[in-house]
C-alpha cells in the first residue's frame, strides 16, 4: 500500500509522465509526417482534383481509378490479368484512367512510385508501371529496389534522358507520394489493388481477378 514516504512515488510519476510524453510526441509526429503538402512537386500528368493520381486521357469519360502499391503481390497478379486491357483502354482513349501509386508497404514503394512519376513526365508511365510489376521482389523492402535499379529499369524501357535519371536520383516526387497517400486515405481506399469506376468500387469478391468479369464491370460503368 502506498504511503506518503514512499520513495517510489516520484519515480512512478516520472515514468508515467515520460511515457505520456513519448506517446504524445509520437502521435503528433505520425500525424504531421503524413500530411499532404501543397508545395510538393508533382508530375505534369497529375491532377490534384483527381486525388493527385497520374491521369491518362484527361478529357475522356468514364473515369477509372486504379490504386496500387508496386510492392503488393496481388497488384502484380491484377496487372497480369487486367493490365493489358487497361493499356488498351488507355491507348484507344475509351476512358480516363487515373493511377494512384500508393506507398504504405514502405520505402521501396516510395522509390518505385517516384520512378513511375518520373517516367510519366517522359510519356512512359504505363511502360514503367508494367516494368515495376514484372521486376517485383518476392519480399517487401528486400533491398532489391534502389535508385540505381530504377534507373536501369528505366533504361531498359528506353528512358535514357538525363532528366529522367536526375528525377530518380533526386527523388523529385517523393513528397508527392504523401499527397497520393493522403488523398487515397480520404477516398477510403483500404487495400490494393482498388479499382473504382466513376467513383464506385468494383466488387472485391468477384471482379478483380477474373478478366471477363472485370471487362463486364468496366462495360457496365460505360467503357464501350
Amino acid at each position: 500500500m502506498s504511503n506518503s514516504n514512499n520513495p517510489d512515488k516520484g519515480t512512478r510519476n516520472l515514468v508515467i509522465g515520460m511515457v505520456a510524453f513519448i506517446v504524445l510526441v509520437g502521435a503528433v509526429f505520425s500525424f504531421i509526417s503524413n500530411k499532404s503538402s501543397s508545395t510538393a512537386k508533382v508530375p505534369a500528368a497529375v491532377s490534384a482534383t483527381d486525388g493527385y493520381g497520374i491521369v491518362l486521357n484527361a478529357n475522356a469519360t468514364p473515369k477509372i481509378d486504379v490504386y496500387v502499391d508496386y510492392q503488393c503481390p496481388i497488384c502484380k497478379n491484377f496487372e497480369i490479368i487486367n493490365g493489358g486491357y487497361l493499356a488498351e483502354i488507355a491507348a484507344s482513349g475509351k476512358a480516363k484512367i487515373v493511377y494512384h501509386p500508393m506507398t504504405f508497404i514502405g520505402a521501396e514503394s516510395i522509390l518505385a512510385a517516384n520512378a513511375a512519376a518520373c517516367a510519366a513526365d517522359e510519356g512512359k508511365f504505363l511502360d514503367m508501371n508494367i516494368a515495376l510489376f514484372q521486376n517485383q521482389s518476392g519480399t517487401e523492402n528486400s533491398g532489391l529496389w534502389t535508385g540505381d535499379y530504377m534507373k536501369r529499369l528505366g533504361n531498359s524501357i528506353g528512358l535514357k534522358s538525363a532528366a529522367f535519371e536526375k528525377c530518380v536520383t533526386d527523388g523529385t516526387y517523393v513528397d508527392w507520394t504523401k499527397n497520393v497517400a493522403d488523398a487515397s486515405a480520404k477516398a477510403n481506399v483500404n487495400g490494393t489493388p482498388t479499382v473504382k469506376v466513376n467513383g464506385k468500387d468494383l466488387d472485391r469478391n468477384t471482379e478483380y481477378m477474373d478478366p471477363v468479369k472485370f471487362k463486364a464491370a468496366l462495360a457496365t460503368g460505360g467503357v464501350k
Binding site: 515514468v15 514502405g106 480520404k186 487495400g191
Partner: protein, 152 residues
C-alpha cells in the same frame, strides 16, 4: 483454497501484465513506423467516419506502445489494464461486425491490415485471442498489485 490464491495472485498479476503489456507493446511497435498502413487498417473496418478512422490509425499504435510499456514495468497498472482491456473489447466488436457484414479484411492487429482476398480472413482466431486479452485486462483491473511492479 482462497489462501492459496492469495499466494499465487501476485505472480498471476505479473504474468498477466507481461502478456497483455507485451502484446500491446509489440502490436504498437510494429505499427508506429507505418502510420499510412495503420490508418488503412482502421478504415477497412468501415465503422468510423474516414477522418476519425485516419486519426485513430495514427494515434492508436502510440497508445498501445504507451499502455504496453506501463503494464510491463508495472506503473499505473489499474488504469493501464482498464485501457488495454477496453481496447481489446472494442477490437472484438470491430472484428465481429466485419465478420458479420462479410467484409474481407485483416485485423491489422500487428501491422498489416486493410482489405484482403476473401478466404484469407482469420476472424475466429483473432476474436478468441482478443477475448483472452480482455480477460487479462479485467483480472489486472481487479488485482493490479503483483510482483516486480513499480506501483506500491
Amino acid at each position: 483454497m482462497l489462501s492459496k490464491f492469495y499466494k499465487v495472485q501476485p505472480w498471476l498479476t505479473l504474468l498477466s501484465r507481461l502478456v497483455l503489456g507485451g502484446v500491446l507493446l509489440a502490436a504498437g511497435a510494429l505499427k508506429v513506423g507505418n502510420p499510412q498502413k495503420s490508418a488503412m487498417a482502421v478504415r477497412a473496418y468501415e465503422v468510423l467516419p474516414i477522418n476519425i478512422a485516419n486519426f485513430l490509425g495514427y494515434v492508436l499504435p502510440w497508445m498501445e506502445v504507451g499502455v504496453g510499456t506501463l503494464l510491463i514495468i508495472g506503473v499505473g497498472v489499474k488504469i493501464s489494464a482498464a485501457i488495454g482491456g477496453f481496447t481489446m473489447f472494442v477490437f472484438i466488436i470491430a472484428i465481429s461486425q466485419a465478420w458479420a457484414r462479410g467484409l474481407s479484411i485483416d485485423c491489422g492487429c500487428f501491422g498489416g491490415g486493410g482489405a484482403v482476398e476473401p478466404g484469407e480472413t482469420k476472424y475466429l482466431s483473432e476474436i478468441l485471442r482478443d477475448i483472452g486479452l480482455t480477460m487479462l485486462g479485467i483480472y489486472l483491473y481487479r488485482f493490479p498489485k503483483g510482483r516486480f511492479g513499480l506501483d506500491k
